[in-house]
Amino acid sequence: MTEVSPVLRILPEVLLTLTGVLVMLLEPVIDIKASRKPLGFLAISGTLAAIAATGYQLQLPPGTAFFGSVQSDAFSAFFHFVICGIVLVTLLVSLDYFEGHTTYVGEYYALILFGAVGMMLMTSSVELLMIFISLEISSISTYILAGYRKRSATSPEASIKYFLLGSFATSFFLYGIALCFGATGSTNLFDIARGIASGASPLLLTVAFGMMLIGLGFKVSLAPFHVWTPDVYEGAPAPVVGLMSTAPKAAAFAVLLRICYGAYGTMTHLWMPLIWILAVLSMTIGNLGALTQRNVKRMLAYSSIAHAGYLLVAFTSLAALGIASAGFYTAAYAAMNVGAFAVLGYLSGFDEKRTNLIDYAGIARRHPVAAAALSVFLLSLIGIPFTAGFFGKFYVFTGALNSGNAWLAVLGLLNSGVAAFYYLRLLAQMYMLPAEPTLEPNTMRARPGFILGVAILVFAVFALGIFPNRTLSLARDAGATFTSHPNPVPQPQAEAIPQQ
């Protein structure tokens, strides 16, 4: 392990940070009236470099660096790919979205890159303090991004609501870390696992797990902690919603997987019932809430709560399988949700001309290609075969069945049936109804960046739905990092601090 330089373990994050700083430095150099697109291209190339660096990390033997605070392995690489992919597509579709509407386009790119650094560090951290700081980086950058439509009333409201509730949630997470430290004397996940094995106080550990689950539950909008989601998604700019409903959630789920299977691996009896309840609540409340919504972004917000519930079902499977299906579901959900919000952002524009279901009536005639792309994403969200959503749900529910959680699978399938209704309602609105004559025709032209971004996502949805094997084997490798060798590397942190 010693021959691998520690910097290589955080190479993608380092590249993204450098690109972000470069974007910040170049921003004032560009004329104030000039387009900020070159900065966008710089950010995109930085993200591509990060993807390449993640591919390189996959070749390295798994191991930790920086005194056991980060670990690069197949698990972190998988989530790095997912997060980088989301960031790449978000950057592509926002190239023209913000242009001319706000002065702070350069800062937008930098914030997305720094946010991605936080999310990616979350997935590779094995040290709770490291996880906390990267969680804060990812959260604070998304709070700011949510408030980018400054002239509207809803966007600053979304930002402040997200900020207040999010900070409240992170304080829960931090309290959980403190209690974990109190119980085991360490904040390193491996040391915590060892502490649990050697019989550290179960009561403190239970409370600690509950606190951390509440904190992460807020971040991924699980049911009892979901109240902020519709308001925030309604107010934030559509490409940002696409980003923040997928990438920070992928990172938070990765952390939850590391805590559940890595640190609390021997206490499944403790967290399994909690996860079970949260999964059922999220699926049911999310889908029932979406049924009553007339605003499309709010509807998709509730749908994202439901999808967080489906993802949680994967946790109840057996360890390696659960992690693999959760990882696959994250990737599938990312492709379809980022796509849906990208197309919504294109159709309604920066000023959100279309907000309600009725505004989408007959849109297929005016924007046939955009409507077709949106239909692909909606069908995938339903879980129609040959789309990513189908295999995502398939693996999650078969995993639940195999581990003896038949009821959970039944409830999940019932929920998917309910969910089909509101997705199909939007589809019917787009294709069946005549166009609303009052709405002026959309003059916005589709730009190359947007077309490329949506094309990548449509391709990803079909690729994951028709040839899921490659992604699935990557996800299986990720799952195997927890089971094949529970203690991959000796922990430098475990050594006693040398006394002088």
Partner: protein
């Protein structure tokens, strides 16, 4: 001596915290928060954590409280008024605090003998040990905090400045 100081400053701390809740005027609450923070600093000092005590005084009693007082002055906040919300807060908050207290107390009572590992006196105490942990074991989180601050600065620029 230790015990006497602990009792005196512990009582100061509790009294300050209660006063903080009972005072109606925000300035009075802020001032009693200073009492809480400073007496906590003395408690840290009694445990032998001199760096933590100093940081507590400088950061919490100093910097953060100045910010608090400034914000109160800028907002020109008057006395709090009783609303339905405050009644609900009483109804939910007091049992909640009692429950939390019971959990912590029962944990302490049942586990007093097996606490061993996490006693503050056992390892990270002196400034030297603290800095070794901070700049060696936790080097990466420490460095990554700079990105966090950078993001916060960007946020201040984006959200507070006017559009041009």
């Amino acid at each position: 001596m230790h015990l006497a100081l602990f009792v005196i400053f512990g009582l100061f701390c509790l009294g300050g915290a209660l006063n903080l809740l009972l005072q109606r005027h925000p300035i009075n609450s802020a001032l009693s928060l200073i009492v809480v923070m400073s007496s906590l600093a003395v408690l840290y000092l009694l445990l032998g954590a001199e760096f933590l005590a100093l940081a507590q005084i400088i950061v919490y009693s100093g910097a953060i409280m100045v910010l608090f007082v400034f914000v109160i002055m800028l907002l020109n906040a008057g006395e709090e008024e009783k609303t339905h919300g405050s009644r609900a807060a009483y109804l939910a908050g007091i049992p909640g605090v009692l429950a939390l207290f019971c959990v912590l107390a029962s944990t302490y009572v049942t586990l007093r003998t097996s606490f061993g590992q996490a006693r503050l006196g056992n390892f990270i105490v002196t400034t030297e040990e603290l800095s070794r942990v901070l700049f060696r074991n936790l080097l990466l989180p420490f460095e990554v905090t700079s990105i966090l601050i950078l993001v916060a600065i960007l946020g201040a620029v984006v959200l507070a400045r006017k559009e041009q």
